[in-house]
Point group: C2
Chain length 159, copies 2
């Protein structure tokens, strides 16, 4: 069991793309409610099954297991609620911190999110120039929400 | 991914106990609806996370993964809906087939179920003398149902 502390931001610029190498992700949800989320993901040629609890503040208990790719693909095709979320995830270092940038595709094309994982809630970090508004905790930017209500269905003022 | 074909019976006698060695099971459900079940289980000192689809007839697609015991215990304690189902599972051979007998405890004490797993739906098998009424497909005998409505809350005529 791990504890996740993540802060999430909209991405405004393109400078981060220089030299960034991405991995294609596909993910869906067997369950997504307030108390518990069960996610199926393929990341490149790997499959994962992940259980997340509700947690408090920025912390959520998380249990992640690697599973056979064919299992993950089968669950995505037959058992997930909502639609499958497609994105390319880029990992890059900025000022000694690992950032993950998700460039969404399919029905969520146009959305770009940057995440940083921290060791504790108040940990300081440098804010990259390509990072815009913070959306940590804003539920419509959760991937589980995107699987039910994709970005392209959002009204303009919510983007 | 495997396909499960199981037939389930009430247990009437005690003859099966001779020499049978049981393993304690505790299990709960992150999700239990018609389309999909996500189960957390401890079996002795092992933990498991299992996803089952709806399937048709006696067949259900099943994806089972061994996980650390501490993860399973934490999920049982904090993330499962309903109550934790406790039972001792005995495995024994009868006429060349493996039978599993579940003797429930806690709020389901008094319930005993025997299951046989088959390779196809019409496969013949010998019926042991300690096997009573068949309850295959009867939803109140599903463990997920028992976690929400334990056996001791059932009206007498449903037992």
């Amino acid at each position: 069991m791990g504890i996740e502390i993540e802060r999430k931001f909209l991405v405004t610029g393109d400078e981060w793309r220089h030299g960034a190498v991405g991995t294609p992700y596909r993910q869906g949800y067997l369950l997504a409610d307030r108390e518990c989320t069960v996610r199926v993901r393929t990341a490149g040629t790997r499959g994962y099954l992940t259980v997340k609890g509700a947690g408090t503040g920025l912390c959520r208990p998380e249990f992640e297991y690697q599973i056979p790719l064919v299992d993950a693909e089968e669950m995505l095709a037959t058992l997930c609620q909502g639609s499958v979320v497609e994105k390319v995830r880029y990992r890059l270092d900025f000022a000694g911190h690992l950032w993950e940038i998700d460039e969404f595709g399919g029905d969520n094309r146009g959305l770009l999110l940057a995440e940083i994982e921290l060791h504790h809630e108040d940990q300081p970090f440098a804010r990259p120039p390509w990072v815009g508004r913070e959306v940590t905790g804003v539920s419509r930017y959760h991937n589980a929400f995107l699987s039910r209500q994709p970005y392209r269905t959002w009204p303009e003022q919510d983007r």
